[in-house]
């Protein structure tokens, strides 16, 4: 008999280890599988029991509740106050279109047997029979765009690396998921690391690279450990190594948000300060150690196996406009039902926040939403009908980024949020360019003057000018996009910049 107790960080943060220990102690005959999370975090620890009818969910389960659950017969899927019915029938889960996350929360993340039994390595098998050009074209056909935030077509990037001259090329996975409100990369690394490994092997075949690196942020110690273990297991079974023609290692970052920027990440991997490099040259031409390098986000790479398995056209048929396939929406902040929702592009912000998220956790009215991490715009209620689509967000002077949604209730002060955006930029700036390094500190000061009502109108103009300089003059997205949260706060919530504060 198998019981599933997630080993995902969010589940651990709510006491999943204690639940697993309590279960093992009370029923040593039961096999406890430490799966990933299904992404319904408000129900964590979400314990599942295998029954003939399917997996039955119970949650949120505490260690103290375990004896009562056992007495009630939960091991046979019997009713209990915490019983949520069949996991697959929970509306939050059932309404999703899980392609990239098909196995996450379902399988044992460190079981290659599970991985293969659930369709793993089918994409790789197909890729091995294709030419590099054909693999690249399959990804181009899928319409997959970089899920790290920039939204650049993955296939086009790969085409550039494939065509770049050179014997040595690299695949680099950007697992420096620093945006607040996002956790999709972490979930994959903890819940289905083999899909990332498979995606990187396929990427290697596509561009002619035989070595890959995963750059994982240090704030994710569990994701690092699970992925490191998965890599070791893949080596044992020759999915990696000499016979496979692809070597892979995982490296740890050291707490610098800027290292999520691809050129800064490459510097860091080379053992240097994570200062950004001006582009051109593009990393696709001159990347890691000066060699052509495909730098892709975790979710982009983890989506490649299903594209190769089912074909680019299958993936492309999800989505809207130029945003094809599925988006891994992460609903966070002041929200009742926070979690991960994988759904075709096109769901509106309102649907994500209310139909999935269940509204604010505090029960107070929603006032602002920040999408796309600390560099994303703050949207008011009136923009909630914006569909989750790259172009729709750009049209509203926002960005979809890595797909994180942070909800704020009516206690939020947008002047303080704007100030924080500048403060964060000042803390995390790599110092390479002046608009970002100096502009962010001046930005904090100007916002303080506005809030203190010192020459308010003049200082609002100064803030506007400063943002323009940062937008146009910064070398990378940190300085270049920090004006998004700042200007959107001023534009949509001018009342918060009044002197009454």
């Amino acid at each position: 008999m198998r019981v599933f107790v997630p080993g995902d960080s969010s589940a651990l943060s709510m006491g999943a280890d204690a639940v697993a220990r309590a279960l093992a102690k009370a029923r040593p005959d039961v096999t406890v599988v430490r799966n990933g999370s299904r992404g319904m975090f408000w129900l964590e620890p979400l314990v599942e029991v295998e029954t003939p009818a399917g997996r039955v969910a119970y949650g949120p389960v505490t260690a103290d509740a375990v004896p009562g659950l056992i007495d009630a017969g939960f091991l046979e899927g019997k009713p209990h106050a915490l019983c949520l019915g069949l996991t697959a029938e929970i509306p939050y889960f059932k309404k999703q279109e899980r392609l990239t996350f098909a196995r996450c929360g379902v399988t044992d993340p460190l079981s290659l047997t599970d991985y293969v039994a659930h369709g793993g390595f089918r994409g790789l098998e197909r890729a091995r029979e294709m030419t590099p050009e054909a693999i690249v074209e399959e990804v181009v056909t899928s319409g997959l765009r970089g899920r790290g935030g920039a939204g650049f077509p993955t296939g086009i990037k790969w085409r550039t690396v494939l065509k770049a001259a050179g014997e040595t090329k690299y695949i680099v996975c950007n697992a420096d998921e620093g945006d607040s409100g996002t956790f999709a990369d972490r979930m994959i690394m903890e819940g289905d690391p083999f899909v990332l490994i498979e995606g990187m092997i396929i990427a290697g075949l596509a561009v002619g690279a035989s070595h890959g690196f995963i750059y994982c942020r240090s704030e994710y110690p569990h994701a690092f450990k699970v992925t490191q273990r998965a890599i070791a297991l893949a080596y044992e079974k020759n999915y990696l190594g000499e016979r496979a023609g692809f070597d892979l290692e995982i490296r740890l970052g050291a707490g610098a948000y800027i290292c999520g920027e691809e050129t800064s990440l490459l510097e860091s991997l080379e053992g240097k300060r994570g200062q950004i490099r001006p582009k051109p040259p593009l990393p696709a031409i001159e990347g890691l150690f000066g060699k052509p390098t495909a730098v892709n986000n975790v979710i982009s790479l983890a989506t490649v196996p299903i594209i190769l398995d089912k074909g680019g056209a299958f993936y492309r048929d999800f989505g809207m406009g130029k945003s094809r396939g599925t988006l891994t929406i992460q609903i966070a902040g002041n929200v009742k039902h926070g979690g991960l929702v994988e759904k075709a592009f096109g769901l509106t912000l309102r649907e994500a926040i209310y139909e999935f998220g269940g509204g604010t956790a505090s029960g107070r009215p929603l006032r602002a939403v920040q999408v796309g991490g600390p560099l994303g715009a703050y949207f008011p209620e009136s923009l909630l009908d914006t569909p989750l689509d790259y172009e729709a967000f750009t049209a509203n002077k926002g960005l979809l980024g890595h797909g994180g949604i942070v909800v704020f209730d009516d206690t939020v002060d947008l002047a303080q949020q704007a100030r924080f955006a500048m403060e964060f930029c000042a803390i995390e700036s790599c110092g390479k360019c002046t608009p970002c390094r100096v502009g962010s500190t001046r930005g904090v000061e100007v916002i303080d003057r506005i809030v203190a009502n010192e020459d308010r109108e003049k200082n609002l103009q100064v803030l506007d000018d400063l943002c323009e300089v940062m937008l146009d003059g910064s070398l990378c997205a940190l300085g270049g996009l920090t004006p998004y949260p700042v200007l959107s706060a001023v534009r949509h919530f001018p009342e918060d910049f009044h002197a009454s504060h």
Binding site: S9, F41, G178, E219, R251, A254, N334, G338, G373, V406
Partner: protein, 138 residues
């Protein structure tokens, strides 16, 4: 191993708790780079420390998602109960309090990490009990 500096610094810090200035010449010589380059890398990254920290390291997330769930008042509460500000270590050497910008536990904000273990939905009471528990096992 190419790009060995960060892995070396991580290993040293894991072993000794911080990176002593005395190690800089050794690393520089081993990698055939200048002292300044090693120093530059240590000082660039928030993680690397040049002095010992407390027995327990409590990181409180200060990023937007946790702000939306009141992390600023959680920070104020913990600062008061430990008697230190963010970035400082208690006089008894038991706790170092650090800000962190996102732990990837944003659906369960406010989030903290104590000695590498994550905790979600951390109220002032939960934070107090975490600190009390750690103190008893100090």
């Amino acid at each position: 191993m190419p790009g060995a500096l960060l892995p070396i610094l991580h290993s040293l810090q894991e072993e000794f708790g911080y990176i002593d200035d005395g190690m800089i010449p050794l690393i520089a010589e081993g990698l055939n780079i200048s002292h300044a380059e090693v120093h530059g890398v240590i000082s660039f990254y928030h993680d690397f420390r040049r002095a010992p920290v407390g027995k327990h390291v409590l990181q409180i997330c200060r990023a937007e998602s946790c702000q939306s769930m009141g992390c600023n008042s959680l920070v104020a509460h913990v600062e008061k109960s430990l008697g230190v500000k963010l970035g400082e270590t208690t006089a008894d050497g038991n706790f170092t309090l650090k800000p962190v910008y996102c732990l990837g536990n944003c659906a369960l904000s406010p989030a903290v990490m104590l000695d590498g273990e994550p905790y979600g939905r951390v109220s002032a009471a939960v934070a107090d009990s975490l600190i009390e528990n750690a103190r008893r096992h100090a």
